[in-house]
């Protein structure tokens, strides 16, 4: 029997700017300001103080919420200034005591979630015409600098003492876990030897050296700070085409009903259901397709607010994935299902793509949100099987769910209709972290197949789907039940570590990007280090931090 950790209340991701404890979001026309002022005693869990604007998951949940609201509620914003309201401190990064006292799985999920939010900054910059400026007005260490790295520009206050730093290696014996190493050399293109100096110097660099190494884009003294940052905001605003006039929609809380019956927990949303079977260590996610045709025009879409199927279903799926990650760690296999009318799904894809092409911001943001949710799915450290059965709607955007799965099973029953269906959106609207489509990755060795599939946008049945390579297996109605049961039972019996590692190595074929390095290379090394005695052993550096004795290392290199 698996040992149970002390019972913790479930982590939930609902919040609103009116309830933020740590961030202050203000929007003035085309400029938003995100000011960090972490509530020392406002940690998500007891046992640590969030000193010096250090953060825990609770702080990052607010940040993720703020970014999401900027997209949907404040689409006219073109420039976001990220700064601190604490004197002389920008952000000290993830709270060390929180990390040291957290279970391994929580640390991994915490890092993954924060990484996804940092990537969302960059996604906004690339696709939503929103420019991020890090106004680093005080000491900026570790995750604080990584937050800045996710922005388009970084300015550091020139006060003779404030520095930017990545002190994780020299101080804690672990890595900066939120993309710092990758973004320093890949995004900011800091020379490798300079990066090596930087990442081993606990106290970091003040403006002069930071600027010389391109760790920041500039710096100003305190007396000129507001004025000069203001000028940078003006420049960025101009470059982004000036103030927008888009009217946002309100994001109301996701509606969720949790039912617990014995070992089975069900989380029901209007368009998604998540069923957790603790005995079988199995999770089942069902996404319900639209029940109505898309609205007649973009104005009608706007009138639906966050209640349009395309947005609601993916907000709910996003929430369900986080629920699974943080609150149900032992369910290692996820069965992915859909329910509904494939024609309605593709009708929504048609409508959204058309409005997006016509310049509608909400259609664009909905598709971008669908894309990010699908990437969150790609990043699940769980095995995923798609089960394509009659009554399902694996079409267009929902076919991406099947593509994201490690395997897909499609019932081949001559008595019942069962189709999958491609749509133009499958050929570019939802890139994975390596900036390719899931179809391109699937057919990496046969790119001509993808070209052929472009003219294959009609519903295809199980036999044809298997011929085309669109599903893994299509058992017939006689084999289906046993076949699927055995595959499931076999999968849940394998080592969870082996499977996670294997899946993450198989999912992202092709050349690397900054993001694949962050979620793959950096995260894998970090997770290895997080398990090693040199970090988390009795005298490991992370454990000894803040304690009177110094860490003891096993000096053998691997």
């Amino acid at each position: 029997m698996a040992a149970n950790a002390a019972p913790q209340p479930p982590v939930r991701f609902d919040t609103h700017p009116d309830h933020y404890k740590h961030w202050n979001l203000t929007v003035d026309g085309a400029v938003a300001r995100l000011n960090l002022e972490v509530d020392l005693h406002g940690g998500l869990r007891p046992g640590y103080e969030l000193k010096l604007n250090s953060y825990d998951l609770g702080v990052d949940i607010e940040l993720a919420d703020a970014v999401r609201r900027l997209r949907f509620e404040h689409p006219a914003v073109r420039v976001v200034v990220v700064s601190s309201s604490l004197p002389r401190v920008f952000c000290a990064g993830a709270n060390i005591r929180m990390l040291a006292s957290s279970a391994h799985g929580f640390k991994v999920n915490f890092c993954k979630f924060t990484n996804e939010t940092r990537c969302e900054f960059e996604d906004m910059s690339a696709h939503s015409n929103t420019h991020f400026i890090a106004a680093v007005n005080g000491a900026c260490a570790g995750g604080g600098y990584e937050l800045a790295l996710a922005c388009d520009e970084i300015y550091l206050i020139d006060d003779g003492s404030s520095t930017v730093s990545l002190p994780e290696v020299p101080l804690l014996g672990v890595l900066p876990g939120t993309g710092g190493l990758t973004r320093v050399v890949d995004k900011r293109k800091v020379r490798r030897d300079h990066a090596d100096l930087f990442c081993t110097k606990a106290e970091g660099f003040r403006l002069r050296d930071a600027l010389r190494m391109n760790l920041v884009d500039g710096g100003f003294p305190r007396s000129k700070w507001d004025e000069r940052i203001g000028a940078k905001v003006d420049t960025a605003l101009h470059a982004r085409g000036g103030a927008g006039s888009e009217q946002g929609i309100a994001l109301t809380p996701v509606s969720r009903t949790v039912t617990v019956e014995g070992a089975v927990t069900t989380v029901d949303y209007p368009s998604v259901s998540l069923r957790i079977d603790g005995d079988q260590r199995l999770a089942e996610i069902t996404v319900k397709g639209p029940t109505e045709a898309p609205p007649a025009d973009a104005a009608a879409l706007h009138a639906l607010g966050c209640e349009s199927w395309a947005l609601r279903a993916f907000r709910e799926l996003d929430d369900a994935l986080l629920e699974l990650r943080f609150n149900h760690p032992t369910e290692g296999l996820v069965l992915l299902r859909t329910e509904g009318d494939p024609a309605l799904v593709t009708a929504w894809d048609d409508a959204l793509s058309g409005w997006r092409e016509g310049g509608d911001w909400l259609a664009r943001e909905i598709q971008l949100h669908q894309g990010r949710t699908l990437r969150r799915l790609d990043n699940m450290a769980r095995s995923m099987f798609a089960l394509i059965e009659p009554g399902s709607c694996f079409a267009g955007v929902l076919y991406e769910v099947a593509l994201s799965a490690d395997r897909s099973y499609m019932l081949d029953d001559p008595d019942q209709d069962n189709f999958v269906q491609l749509h133009a959106v499958n050929f570019g609207a939802f890139p994975t972290h390596n900036k390719r489509t899931r179809l391109d990755i699937r057919f990496l060795g046969a790119p001509e197949t993808v070209t052929q599939l472009r003219s294959q946008l009609e519903p295809v049945d199980a036999a044809e789907a298997q011929d085309l390579g669109l599903v893994t297996l299509s058992p017939d109605d006689l084999d289906w039940e046993d076949e699927v049961r055995i595959e499931i039972e076999e999968r849940v019996s394998l080592s969870p570590d082996g499977l996670t590692g294997m899946e993450q190595n198989l999912r992202f074929a092709g050349a690397e990007t900054c993001e694949t390095k962050i979620f793959g290379r950096l995260t894998a090394w970090q997770n290895w280090i997080f398990q090693r005695p040199n970090a988390v052993g009795e005298r490991g550096a992370l454990v000894m931090y803040g304690h009177p004795e110094k860490p003891v290392f096993d000096w053998k290199r691997t």
């Binding site: 020392l40 020139d158 006060d159 003779g160 003492s161 020299p170 110097k201 606990a202 106290e203 003294p221 305190r222 007396s223 000129k224 931090y545 803040g546 304690h547 009177p548 004795e549 110094k550």
Partner: protein, 472 residues
């Protein structure tokens, strides 16, 4: 320009004339130091002859050499206490190993930070005090002010010597930065907050030398225990000079207090202010302000850095070698009063993490002794008034007690209660306004301002009437 005659320009016992690396560093730094001194040193007295003590060697005869000198010509020297070739590390994780004569790479950053933080306070205090010469109550006090100033300058030199000699290019950069920051400057403030507070009147000056310089004494004493021998020896020698600064503060306050008591006795209503003095309640409010600010200088009550510094044998306790028999500080704890749900409860903290508080304890004890002496002086004049130190929890901006409010006795109170009493407990704008009205220069030999008593004796055996500063 020819080579500098190092031995006479810069008295030292570090073989400066043979040390090309140090020479090269100082050749660049010294002119910048002198322009800093001209720009930020004492205002208005740079061309006057001052009766100053100059250290010309580290031995007993040499370190207190008195003569008239113009401050810019002061020979800022570099002195370390005499070396002990067999010195062993006597506390922390490196106990029993030979003391380090060079900086171990592992501790390069942390040692540099310690030295820079200490070094930054030296020029900062000169900057804070630069206007005070214009309102000195006597030539004796004027001379003491300048003595303190030039010695703070020399202490900066001592720290810069360490940076130049042991920390390479980064050390030279830090030495430049020490001259670039400015006390109270919005853009380039000094590192520690107490050193950005204005110090524009003599009551504040004496409070500063009493309380802030005494923090300096305890920091230097803790560093004089360091495994890094050049730092230990530097600090040991600095302590000999620091003693005079503390004397200036302690006796300065004592003289104001004594005068205040005398004037209160003279006044029909017992009001020292009416007699042109500073009343004792005002003095108490200044003490409350400066003492609480200076407690912050010791750092957080529970501190990872403090634990690291001790464990790494970089910074010991006050009198580590002499006053303690156990030097690992492991397996022990210190009890703190912690505020939980509005009540103070005891909480144990591992001793190493509590090292800042251990040092603060000794400091508070010593400050308490001074207050007892002042109270004796008040009692001797037959006045019924006692000064006191506020609780360590009162009016703190750093550490365990910074987020809550306490009265001067250390009892937790509400923010509203604190604000309602703020002007009773802490110096007010009108207090400062009043004190400023008293700050009129008295630059005649033998004369002294009305609000302060003359010293019991002069400097270096000279009488009070001695012409400590020549205006001619």
């Amino acid at each position: 320009m020819g080579a500098i005659d190092y031995q006479s320009r810069i008295p030292n016992n570090v073989h400066l004339s043979d040390d090309r690396r140090l020479q090269r560093a100082l050749e660049r730094w010294q002119p910048n130091y002198l322009s800093w001194w001209q720009e930020m040193g004492p205002d208005g007295f740079q061309t006057k002859d001052i009766y100053l003590r100059t250290a010309i060697s580290a031995d007993r005869q040499g370190w207190a050499h008195f003569d008239y000198v113009k401050m810019p010509d002061y020979r800022w020297g570099i002195f370390l206490a005499e070396p002990d070739p067999d010195r062993e590390i006597h506390f922390g994780d490196h106990m029993g190993k030979p003391a380090w004569q060079t900086v171990p790479g592992e501790f390069r950053n942390v040692l540099r930070r310690i030295i820079v933080t200490q070094g930054d306070t030296e020029p900062a205090s000169v900057e804070q005090q630069r206007q005070l010469g214009n309102t000195a109550p006597s030539l004796y006090d004027l001379r003491n002010l300048f003595q303190v100033n030039v010695e703070e300058g020399r202490h900066l030199w001592a720290m810069v010597y360490l940076l130049h000699s042991y920390f390479g290019r980064e050390g030279r950069d830090e030495a430049e930065e020490l001259l670039a920051r400015r006390s109270g400057d919005e853009d380039k403030p000094r590192i520690l907050d107490a050193f950005n507070q204005p110090c524009n009147d003599w009551l504040s000056f004496f409070c500063f030398t009493m309380f802030a310089d005494r923090d300096g004494k305890y920091q230097l004493a803790a560093l004089a225990e360091s495994a890094f021998d050049p730092l230990a020896r530097t600090c040991k020698f600095m302590l000999t000079e620091e003693a005079h600064h503390l004397f200036v503060g302690d006796t300065g306050l004592e003289r104001i207090i004594r005068r205040s008591a005398e004037l209160a006795q003279l006044d029909p209503n017992g009001d020292a202010r009416a007699q042109g003095g500073i009343d004792l309640p005002t003095i108490q409010r200044f003490i409350n302000f400066w003492f609480s600010y200076c407690l912050d200088l010791f750092g957080s009550e529970v501190s990872t850095n403090a634990a690291d510094y001790f464990g790494q044998s970089l910074k010991g306790r006050f009198g580590e070698a002499k006053r303690y028999s156990e030097h690992t500080a492991l397996g022990q704890s210190k009890t703190f009063k912690v505020l939980k749900d509005g009540r103070l409860v005891d909480e144990d903290v591992p001793l190493r993490n509590a090292m800042n508080e251990v040092l603060r304890d000794d400091y508070i004890d010593e400050c308490g002794n001074a207050v007892r002496r002042w109270n004796k002086a008040i009692a001797k004049l037959g006045l019924d008034f006692e000064l006191s130190l506020p609780s360590r929890r009162f009016h703190r901006r750093q550490g365990l007690y910074a987020d809550a409010h306490f009265d001067p006795a250390g009892n937790p109170i509400s923010e509203a209660e604190f604000e309602a009493n703020r002007d009773t407990w802490l110096k007010t704008e009108s207090d400062m306004e009043f004190v400023r009205t008293l700050m009129q220069p008295c630059h005649e030999p033998g004369k002294i301002a009305n609000w302060i008593a003359p010293p019991r004796k002069g400097i270096n055996g000279q009488p009070f009437e001695f012409e400590y500063v020549r205006f001619a």
